[in-house]
Symmetry: C2
Subunit: 291 residues, 2 copies
């Protein structure tokens, strides 16, 4: 499988963001990509830096205008597209979603972000209701492979990676928007990025699958504070945990990676973690705390 | 909390192995350690390189001779000791266990390894029955902190780390025996070690706790094949995922680390992963595969 991660900068011009992502998708296809994954919420700036009811206007249904555009590209180019979308599901009901479009253009389904953060400048709980429990974590059989999609904050949860892998995913794709608070970057920046990469590499290792994260770049400062410096560094990890493709911190890139999907079976056979799971002893995972 | 990890070489002289570990424990206490953790099965070579009924003679009960020795040291030095022991629990029933001894000498309990490997030269399923389900993963309130103990192969299972952290552990201690097959070291060695460290760092990150692994060194070649080169590199990771202490590949060491246990609450508050767990959607963790 040839994978492309689209790492881009976003402005407050949503049509321009869309058209640049369309162009990057076509470029990826021209360069041989079979599966293309966008960064999180690529049509907009990361508007969750404030709680503003006006931002709900940025949402759209699935299927809707953005899926229509990418379904057409998927048909023309015979590629799979994972498109991150701010979804309006019903009146007053919004999700942070990803549309999964198969080569040929069929809309296979929607993943709705299950873990929603709420931290300074990441006020997602205001905008997004969490994904439903059933189906929560899921996998799609695309023309080029069995794909699981998770989104950003999900990255920090081994449960999400594990269940998606158990559902058959041989690659976990994470559209992402993560960056540094400028005031913290000098002291905490390297540690934060290292943690982000380490825990995703660990999902590849523990589940014997590929993991890929597409992150945005750019310093977005929609309000009066310092804003966020998105750290880019989109990457792909092999089932061994090795980083086999890694983008810059500050450049728009179509990050291509050749994935030998046979490595999934090899890794899981030589590091047979799935064999020895103590499924009789894991039920406390469903508890908040054991006090 | 001042932690010491004992990284040692073992020979086929079990009394010498024990005495050198006793000496290292006392040295650790002299250097200020409050909690001391041994490597896995420190009184013996890593005998699981072959399936030999004679090796069952190496087992002992808990409480037994080894816990007696370390209970006395714990009383004399007022330190907590985590002592890895090949445990005979009953006739024909053996575990890969760790005794948890509180400062003052009380035997607080036993952790019995839950995940048992069986791979070339790691024939543990022949020797060790897996730990019971209830209590499987557990935590002890020691004089110097709330400690969770897991053993070696458990390292690769985020479920084990998560449940132990939910049970209150603020540090996860992993007595370990892991090394390279000499024939694979040149091609796979760095990747294998990097994966081992990454997934344990990820347990620290995802659970906002400290993680420490005590591993042995030395090339043990008890049979005719190439044996195993234990890779040492005992280490301690902070809740941020940063490695704050790291031992060599080939030297005996008393690896000391100062742990500021207040970092647990700081990390969990600033990276509030426990807050957002989707405990309503994790029950499939208890399934083998979702086919």
């Amino acid at each position: 499988m040839t994978l492309a991660l689209l790492q881009q900068e976003a402005s407050n011009d949503t049509e321009d963001n869309l058209q640049r992502t369309v162009a990057a998708t076509k470029q990826a296809a021209k360069e041989g990509a079979q599966v293309v994954c966008t960064q999180e919420l690529f049509t907009t700036e990361y508007f969750c830096q404030s709680e503003d009811h006006n931002n709900f206007k940025l949402a759209e249904p699935i299927p809707g205008p953005t899926t229509k555009v990418f379904q057409e590209i998927a048909r023309e180019e015979d590629i799979v597209v994972i498109a991150s979308i701010f979804e309006q599901r019903a009146a007053g009901l919004y999700h942070n979603s990803a549309a999964v479009i198969d080569a040929g253009g069929e809309l296979l389904g929607i993943y709705r972000k299950m873990h929603i953060p709420d931290d300074p400048l990441y006020y997602e709980k205001f905008y997004f209701t969490p994904g439903d429990k059933d189906p929560g974590f899921c996998t799609w059989h695309t023309k080029y492979g069995r794909i699981g999609v998770l989104i950003c904050w999900d990255q920090w949860y081994p449960e999400a990676a594990r269940i998606t892998a158990l559902a058959g995913a041989e690659i976990l794709l994470y559209p992402t928007a993560i960056g540094w608070h400028p005031a913290e970057k000098a002291t905490e920046g390297n540690t934060q990025h290292a943690a982000w990469q380490a825990i995703q590499r660990s999902h590849a290792i523990g589940n014997g699958c590929f993991v890929a994260a597409a992150n945005r770049i750019g310093h977005e400062k929609p309000s009066d504070d310092d804003g966020l410096e998105f750290w880019g560094q989109s990457f792909v990890a092999a089932p061994s945990g090795e980083v086999i493709a890694n983008a810059s911190t500050d450049k728009e890139e179509v990050l291509l990676a050749e994935l030998n999907m046979k490595e999934v079976n090899v890794a899981r056979t030589h590091w047979p973690f799935l064999r020895d799971r103590r499924i009789d002893a894991y039920e406390e995972i469903t508890r908040r705390f054991l006090d």
